[in-house]
Amino acid sequence: MTSPGSAAATDRTALLSVRDLEVRFVTRRATIHAVNGISFDLDPGATLGIVGESGCGKSVSSLAMLGILPQPAGRVKAGQVLLDGRDLVGLSEHDLRQVRGGEIAMIFQDPMTSLNPVLTIGRQITEALRAHLDMDKRAAAEEAVALLDRVGIPDARRRLSDYPHQFSGGMRQRVMIAMAISCRPKVLIADEPTTALDVTIQAQILDLLRTLVDSEGMALILITHDLGVVAGVCERTHVMYAGRFVETGPTTELFARPKHPYTLGLLKSVPRLDERHHRRLEPIGGAPRDMRELPTGCAFAPRCTYATQASWEVLPLLEPTAGGDHRVACHNPVPDAELVAAGLGLGPDADGDAEDDDQWRP
């Protein structure tokens, strides 16, 4: 996996390569600058976490990739979404349909509302199978049973004729996952897959996703506001703010040495189990940006304690840090001393392997 950055970053083709994607919502009253030029590459089987607050543009990016932005306001203003080298932006509706669910599948936040209440779950799984794999009714039903089995729904055959309201939240999310993986997509986008669930169920669903990504060889994009979720699942993490990536890097590195004040803020606002002393959680002051107009400088400046004159005037671009693959878009990256004070960075665990991330997991 290569780092995001300029459009010319890669010399080989990644499975999914997003280049300078910009998304706008245009209404009569205002234009919302939801996504303002994000780029990343995803290799087959890779796992990428995209982290940010509500409204930072993470869900919108994924809807834009699939061409299912809310209409009529949503539109891709610029950029490319290359899947195996083919640009999905501007692809015909007919061709896009093959991609949706077939090559890129999506799991949504709220399993309570993401399943159609008047159709049986069997119907909802088989309709995806039949749309993409040209299966007959019986074969699709058999496959649906196998899928439900695989995502851990007991008594799968009987439950095929049940309706969504007859399932618990966690079970519904398993159904959503079964539906998403049904056509063996190359990329699975999970948009806040655990946010609406109980903590114990969250862990189960994350485990399931991890297992499936391993066994199916799918690439995973995990979108969340919860750093703890990313820590256990994703090799790489991109932190998003106001429609841009502000910090990207291998998850371990990013958690150990956050360079962007916003990333640090996010980390400080997560409760940790491994701390000896009870620490007050520190929320990030202020509110997310009003996305109606683009700022000239750093979008985070109004909430940032490190902001200088330059932050307000010049847009910072993603630049490599000492860590090499670790990039940050900040004029005044967080000094290491600050990290130690926050109980992060430079500790003995800092450059350990992925196991150390467990401290962040829910």
Partner: protein, 335 residues
């Protein structure tokens, strides 16, 4: 489910009992009476008394009521004072005509209103949406009888495309009517001329009667569709890569139909009221014109039988709607 239906049917008993009593009392509290309506203002006291005696109208009201209820329990609805025919017989003549008209009106309302409301919602604030809003406002506020007269004048009198009055061409009145539903009769007896004639006669009255339900159904469908299109499961369906017609039909329309079905059921009651006006304008020999006539002649037996029957139909139709709701919406289970 069976238990639920049985219970609902049981509830009908007190409803009908109370209503029959109120109806009976109110009719007799009205000034005038059948005798004077029949014999005219110049009838002598003696003539009136004789007539009242003959129909038992001189007896105390409560005695009349219990007598009526006793007969009703045996299926005897009494005799029309005006025509001297058993009310039951007349009812069986009239009822199919009104049902045919009402079904025609509901079909007009649903077949036009649902697609129109859906199209309006899909192009929210577009041309179809705006014009359907104006059209349905006109539809709701336009008096039924005036619309009926207008339709009749333009399409029957001026353009001559469709017949002006009645259910069927007078030359075909002798055609066989095994069911009383003329369209159905045409099919059953393979009398296609009669079928076509009956269909032509049905068009204008059905449109006139269907306008208000049409306007309401269009608005409800539009609102329900707007609610559903932004639901998460519609996004899920799109993300699955389904063809948009499947998303529209299976995922959007199916959910949007739930409130529409309820409204259709409620419209049936209003429809029967509207039928009185429409049937009068088009001389449609149905329950509406029958009851209107009965009011003029204070034809107690017809009024009691007819109105009770109306109520029975409305209650039954709404029960049917509630039952069908359980099939459309799996979250609803009746116990």
């Amino acid at each position: 489910m069976l238990r639920y239906v049985a219970l609902r049917l049981l509830y009908m008993v007190p409803v009908l009992l109370v209503l029959s009593f109120v109806l009976f009392a109110f009719l007799r509290a009205l000034p005038g009476g059948p005798a004077i309506a029949l014999l005219g203002e110049r009838a002598t006291e003696r003539d009136l008394e004789v007539l009242e005696q003959r129909f038992g109208l001189d007896r105390p009201v409560h005695e009349q009521y219990f007598g009526y209820m006793r007969n009703l329990a045996r299926g005897d609805l009494g005799v029309s004072i005006r025509t001297r025919r058993p009310v039951r017989e007349e009812l069986l003549d009239r009822f199919p005509a009104t049902v045919e008209l009402s079904i025609g009106a509901i079909l007009v309302a649903v077949l036009v209103g649902v697609p129109l409301g859906f199209a309006a919602a899909k192009r929210y604030q577009g041309a179809i949406d705006q014009s359907s809003l104006v059209a349905s406002l006109i539809g709701i506020s336009f008096p039924v009888f005036f619309l009926a007269l207008l339709l009749k004048y333009v399409f029957a009198v001026r353009l001559g495309w469709l017949p002006t009055i009645g259910r069927i061409d007078v030359r075909m009145l002798t055609a066989e009517h095994p069911t009383g539903f003329y369209l159905l009769d045409g099919i059953v007896t393979r009398d296609w001329d009669a079928f076509v004639s009956a269909a032509k006669h049905l068009v204008l009255p059905a449109i006139a009667l269907g306008t208000i339900p049409l306007a309401i159904i269009t608005r409800i469908t539009r609102g329900a569709t707007l609610d559903v299109v932004s639901e998460d499961y519609v996004r899920t369906a799109r993300a699955k890569g389904l063809v948009s017609s499947v998303v529209n039909r299976r995922h959007i329309l199916r959910n949007a139909m739930l409130p529409v079905v309820t409204i259709v059921g409620l419209q049936v009651g209003l429809l029967l009221t509207g039928a009185i006006l429409t049937e009068t304008v088009f001389s449609w020999p149905g329950m509406g014109s029958w009851i209107l006539e009965a009011i003029r002649f204070r034809d107690y037996a017809v009024l009691q039988g007819g109105i009770l029957f109306f109520v029975l139909v409305v209650v039954l139709v709404n029960l049917l709607v509630d039952i069908s709701y359980a099939f459309l919406n799996p979250r609803i289970r009746y116990r």
